[in-house]
Subunit: 228 residues, 2 copies
Amino acid sequence: MKDHKRQPTAVRAPAIVKEAVRLFTLNGYDATSVDAIASGVGITKASVYHHFSGKEEILSAAMDLILDPLEQLLADTRLEEMPAIGQLRAIVVSVIELTALHRGEVLLLSMIKSNTQTERSAQERRRKLQATVSKIITRAIEEGSISPFFDPVVLGRLIFGMTNSVMYWWDLNRPSNTVDTQTLLDQILGFISSGVSYSAPAESETAWSIPHTESSRPVDKALRDINE
Amino acid sequence: MKDHKRQPTAVRAPAIVKEAVRLFTLNGYDATSVDAIASGVGITKASVYHHFSGKEEILSAAMDLILDPLEQLLADTRLEEMPAIGQLRAIVVSVIELTALHRGEVLLLSMIKSNTQTERSAQERRRKLQATVSKIITRAIEEGSISPFFDPVVLGRLIFGMTNSVMYWWDLNRPSNTVDTQTLLDQILGFISSGVSYSAPAESETAWSIPHTESSRPVDKALRDINE
């Protein structure tokens, strides 16, 4: 008991979420008990309940970590004033940076079922984000920055199917097997922009290719990009 | 017993594989028993063992359905004589068509652990295919058909991360929620070729854009394309 009394309360809630996400993705949400989460963090079950009403609230906190920044980004009026292609780019940047910071949570979102209200709520928020992306792509086609060749829904699913696939292989904890965030982002933005034939640094002055810098908060970073 | 004696033996083995794949992807490979598979098909456990030595051999047959055609495609000398960009295109076409035919098996390959020799073997075959794709992309860069901007390993993972993502949302059994194989293929090939800015039917004479027609056997179809 002494040991975790030394640990500040503010640190413990994120540690609980982190361990819960690890167990949820490893064994499934249904198969993971609050006991197992407490034991994994090295605290008592009562300490978990000091922070969360139960498993569902922990899942909810985990989903907020990745869904809140994306929703805030899409609700930001500065984003709305941009050309649609720049909005799409800001979302791709945000998704990749969120995956770098919260790989487990992104993986969990793709895995959850719809048995509880919290699970259904996370899936519903995800669907709304997808619908917003489809609308942005539709607008980009109208604005002439994306070819009318594309079906907006299919293209949205392909782009975010690609960015989501990163969570399966891109493990920043295993540097030998990976690339850094900036390189990955460049490769993805280059690919989305011009496909495999991408070869034109001269094109980098378009809205799509706004330069970006390092940041630990994806939503801030995406918005900073927009204002550059 | 009478009922399934009427069913020809040749039909029963694929039916067993199909039901096994459904249960493996729904409940996990480890949690699925031969009893459950037999019961799902509506035959006795003994009838399952008439075709397969056990669960592992059923899994192996399921993996062969998607890995055999891809390996045959890559081993075909007609493919080897093509420019690398055409080889890459043939593989993309094959992956999408295999996903259309064997969505469950593709999903299963992405889900299996490495507890048994059969699981490890399937993962190893998948890794070899990925390595071959990286080599083909490296060659395409050398041949000037893919920009040297790209890291061959990262680009390979992005392209096949995108094509694999299709298995999560593209359900041909729910036509309202989907696009047909040919349309999806066109959208994907257009996107890989030129990114979102794709708009040039005039470019369709390149090796990348060899025209393709419908077929139920992906490997045949890809090779037919090559010879056109």
